[in-house]
């Protein structure tokens, strides 16, 4: 009974002759019958001979009797072999869970970080609204410049164009709107779009609830609104009964007629500024006040091309029918207001252009900045993936040396090299497949975290869920990683003869040079990342230390939107006066001031500044910015007066118009002439000349660290709809933020407060991108450093193990433990140097890319370029410490025992 458990060896060997598919059945039958024969008294040799005879007959029969109707799986087919290999790879990975987990984790981090950063870039720049047949939706714009956000045409031009194109193309217009909404959840400030009758039909959208009926049959606007799906979900809990209900927009009651489809946020920079509300043009004088005024806000034009029609043909048809968009009539209007003649080669030209909408969802200048920053950050995040890959390649290479025997046997047993390569590839693909799933999850977490910090350029929370672009990016990254990681071992297997793969004692050298090269590559990538992180960290520190030329540290403010609150000019002035009185009574308040923008606000208005008194009637003109401010604001901001006076109580509405300029403006317009007494016009403002009464010191304007020509005008003479009410105090301004907000609410509960913070916090937004970039890059750099240090340590520890015998011989011949330690440290230093030097060179070349967003330091900042190699040297020593100590502790008598 000794052979009951397992077929005897001779039978197993002989049975190999039988077709594999039937081998087990045949052996089982023969075993069973042989037992019966033995019990029946047959001798052992007889049964052996009997069984062998049957095996031979079975071998012939099983290989000759074909079963044509059953696909012969005698040898695993192409498909089956993949399955076998997959099973083998999985079992092998599961057999060493710790090592596999480390590999998966490394790659997960690499893919996750890279896909996460790409996800943000994708979310900001590439996501398109869910519009059917998006490639047929186009914008119509003046031919002399690219389609631009919401700035393509006058409203009246839209009406003319729409009529000219009637029958050929339905043209819709959309204008930007922002205001307060109450009646659907809490009162809030949100963005929306004013649209023409054909808007939703042109985009071919279907409502998620209700209808899109914003106009009646005769084309007159209804007092109606469409809500975004997101707003419907968040404020109304997706209640279908919202349709037909009344909401209040800027104090006007409107009926909700429908809900837009999920994911649709309008077509005016939808990834950055989501629209939550759609209303018809002209819906009410309070919501859309200037629609028929000469200064009506410009609109964007969209149309849907008929299937198969080319843009050129449609453009020619419309032009032939008299459709036109005159170029920049605004500039002509501005020129007329100052009596200037501005030569414009395009004036009056009857031309228009048609471009695809998807290409102009984001204004070109913003797209430019976004693409450069996005590609720089994506490239830097790819370095983390690169480091992770080369680390993993290193581990696998070491592993491949240990598998030499296995591969040699496989080759000897008839496996082809292609088969071995496939085996290695399947293993790495298993790892990268799992890492891809984990990486996408991690990418979502990273994107969510970054989106939660409210990216400074957006008014909308980014949608962090990965779309097909992010998944595709991750999948490609994972596939490339799998191939790259498999390349080392595969190369080793294919290059060498089977016998040379059999370990043959101490002469068999592991591929140390390749492994060192991989570590050096990691160090190089790490250097680039750390230099970038260092530059941004320095910029962040500099931006915090930098003085913008004014001091807002004692100011708290609340920003109100009077237009959105439904207050007209007079009611607005009245509210501001009462609010200022009430705010002055808050304990601790020394002074109350008003401004429509502070010098570092992005809300600062751009204008062309025109000066009088040039030679021979020439009027110098520069582009600059201006702010409407109240009396006392310049003093509160501690902006020193250089000449003339500041605004006083006499600079009221109706009094002679005045302005104060900064030194840059004075120098540019009047070239060292005394500026006070000259006259200034702001193009874009229709109010003509004003006298310069004072000159103030330059401050940063618009962008931290950069000054620019700027003018201040009295807010009483130039009313604004969005106004910041600031209070100056001796106490901590943070303590006054809440009381100020309460006070304004008490004065008028319906006024929309869009921001409420200290002025310093608001002005800090200008440098927020730098600080955010610094945080992200420092995190990336730390991660890269950790992975690279791990890789360095791994290689050093491995070589020390490999060289134990060599070290033993050295020590037996008289080497001191110190010199052995130096041996290891030297190896570490060589790998470091081999990586850091090229890394520094790459950084030197690459920093130009980052130059635009550095603050206060040059791209070749010596501090960053010196600190980083120092840091890496420290890490190199740390990583070498343990292997070096282990090398020093090698006992020659033990190391040499197995010789």
């Amino acid at each position: 009974m000794s052979d009951a458990g397992r077929p005897p060896r001779w039978l197993r060997i002989a049975a190999r002759l039988v077709a594999p598919r039937h081998r087990d059945d045949v052996v089982g039958d023969l075993m069973e019958e042989r037992h019966a024969l033995r019990r029946a008294g047959r001798s052992r040799p007889w049964t052996m001979a009997w069984a062998l005879g049957h095996v031979l007959r079975s071998a012939i029969a099983s290989r000759t009797i074909r079963s044509p109707l059953v696909p012969a799986p005698a040898a695993p087919g192409r498909h089956g072999r993949w399955r076998l290999d997959l099973g083998y790879a999985t079992r092998r990975l599961l057999r060493r869970p710790a090592a596999s987990l480390l590999a998966v984790a490394t790659l997960t981090v690499g893919i996750g970080v890279s896909a996460g950063v790409f996800g943000i870039v994708n979310g900001l720049l590439f996501k398109t609204p869910p519009i059917p047949d998006m490639d047929r939706v186009v914008t119509i714009h003046p031919a002399n410049r690219p389609a631009d956000y919401f700035n393509d045409a006058e409203y009246t031009e839209f009406e003319q164009l729409r009529d000219a194109a009637r029958g050929m193309l339905s043209v819709a217009a959309v204008g930007v709107w922002g205001g307060a909404l109450s009646g659907a959840g809490e009162t809030r400030y949100l963005g929306g779009e004013l649209v023409s009758a054909d808007y939703f039909r042109t985009l071919a959208l279907a409502p998620a609830a209700g209808t899109f009926r914003l106009f009646d049959e005769r084309g007159a606007p209804l007092r109606a609104a469409v809500l975004s799906y997101a707003l419907w979900q968040s404020s109304c809990q997706a209640d279908p009964a919202i349709v037909g209900r009344t909401i209040k927009v800027s104090g006007e009651p409107l009926t909700v007629v429908g809900v837009a489809p999920p994911g649709f946020g309008g077509i005016l920079m939808p990834t950055i500024r989501r629209a939550d509300l759609w209303m018809p043009f002209d819906v009410s004088p309070k919501i859309d006040p200037w629609r028929h005024a000469p200064s009506a806000p410009r609109v964007r034009l969209v149309a849907r091309l008929p299937a198969g029609a080319s843009r050129d043909a449609v453009r020619a048809d419309i032009a032939a029918a008299g459709g036109r968009i005159p170029v920049d009539p605004l500039r002509r209007a501005r020129a007329a207001s100052t009596g200037e003649s501005i030569s414009d080669p395009f004036t009056g030209a009857a031309i228009l252009a048609i471009s695809p909408l998807w290409a102009s969802l984001i204004p070109p200048d913003l797209l430019d900045v976004g693409l450069t920053a996005g590609s720089a950050f994506t490239a830097l995040s790819m370095l983390v993936l690169l480091i992770a890959c080369s680390n993993l390649a290193n581990v696998l290479l070491a592993d491949a040396v240990g598998r030499d025997r296995e591969f040699a046997i496989r080759l000897a047993a008839g496996a082809t090299r292609g088969h071995l390569v496939r085996l290695i590839l399947i293993e790495t693909m298993c790892v990268s497949g799992v890492a891809l799933a984990g990486g996408l999850a991690l990418a979502t977490v990273i994107a969510r975290a970054l989106a939660a910090t409210a990216l400074p350029v957006t008014y909308q929370k980014l949608d962090p869920s990965p779309d097909w672009r992010v998944i595709g990016y991750g999948a490609i990254a994972a596939a490339i990683a799998a191939v790259a990681v498999a390349a080392g071992p595969a190369f080793r297997v294919t290059r060498r003869a089977p016998l040379s793969l059999l370990p043959s004692g101490p002469g068999d050298a592991p591929p140390r040079r390749l492994r060192s090269l991989l570590v050096a590559a990691q160090m190089a990538a790490c250097t680039v990342l750390l230099v970038a992180a260092g530059l941004y960290a320095r910029s962040a520190v500099e931006s915090l230390r930098h003085s913008p030329g004014f001091d807002a540290s004692h100011l708290a403010m609340a920003r109100v939107d009077l237009g959105a609150s439904g207050l007209d000019d007079r009611a607005g002035r009245d509210f501001l006066a009462r609010a200022a009185d009430a705010a002055a009574r808050i304990p601790g308040v020394r002074r109350v001031v008003l401004a429509d923008a502070f010098p570092l606000d992005s809300a600062l208005q751009k204008a062309s500044l025109v000066g009088d008194g040039g030679s021979r009637g020439h009027r110098p003109q520069i582009s600059g910015q201006f702010a409407r401010v109240s009396r006392g604001l310049l003093e509160s901001l501690r902006i020193p007066l250089v000449a003339g006076r500041t605004f006083d109580g006499g600079d009221l509405d109706g009094a002679p118009r005045v302005a104060i300029v900064n030194e840059k403006t004075a120098a540019a317009l009047w070239h060292g002439d005394e500026a006070v007494g000259h006259h200034l016009a702001l193009l874009g403002e229709a109010t003509g000349w004003r006298e310069v009464v004072g000159v103030v010191r330059d401050t940063d304007v618009g962008v931290a660290g950069q000054s620019a020509p700027m003018a201040f005008v009295p807010i009483d003479q130039e009313p604004a709809t969005r106004v910041s009410l600031a209070v100056e105090t001796d106490r901590r301004p943070d303590d006054l933020v809440a009381p100020l907000r309460r006070t304004l609410r008490d004065v008028n509960p319906d006024v929309v407060i869009t921001a409420s913070e200290t002025v310093t916090a608001g002005q800090g937004a200008a440098t927020l991108p730098i600080r955010l970039a610094a945080k992200v890059l420092v995190a990336l750099g730390a991660l890269a450093l950790a992975i690279a240090a791990l890789g360095l340590y791994g290689v050093l520890a491995y070589t020390v193990r490999q060289r134990t015998r060599e070290i033993g011989i050295r020590m037996a011949l008289g080497a001191s433990s110190r010199s052995v330690q130096h041996l290891v440290l030297r190896q570490s230093a060589a790998m470091l140097l081999g990586g850091v030097l090229p890394g520094l060179a790459f950084s030197f070349i690459g920093v130009g890319w980052l130059r635009a967003w550095l603050f206060g330091i040059g791209p070749y900042d010596p501090v960053a370029f010196i600190t980083v190699p120092g840091l890496l040297a420290g890490v190199g020593v740390l990583a070498a410490l343990r292997p070096a100590r282990r090398a020093a502790r090698v006992d020659p008598s033990i190391a040499l025992r197995d010789l």
Binding site: D3, A4, G5, R6, P7, L11, V18, A19, R21, H22, D24, D25, V26, V27, G28, D29, L30, M31, E32, E33, H35, H54, V55, R57, S58, A59, I60, A61, S62, I65, R66, S67, P68, L69, V70
Partner: protein, 112 residues
Amino acid sequence: MPRYNLGELEQVVLLALLRLGGEAYGAAIRAEIKARTGRSVTPGAIYPTLDRLEGRGLLHSRMGEPTPERGGRARRHVKITAAGLREVREAWRRTSALAAGVLALGPERRDV
């Protein structure tokens, strides 16, 4: 009209299976053939035949538990299907129709 005629070995295997009550495993079929006809069919011939019959839907098979007696191999149990029964009847009808009056079945045995 069947498109495919049962082969001789197929017919033998199916008949042996029927003799065993329509349900049996490989070694038992061989033993039955041997006992009834004296013909020793090698296992290497039985199993491809079973495969082929199964592929045509004439029988089902399932694997049993591995037993130490069989050296840790499992028994393969097969069971004739209704189609199998129909097929073997038809084959027998044709064979007997041709043989009727031509041959007198004697007691002599014939080995393969």
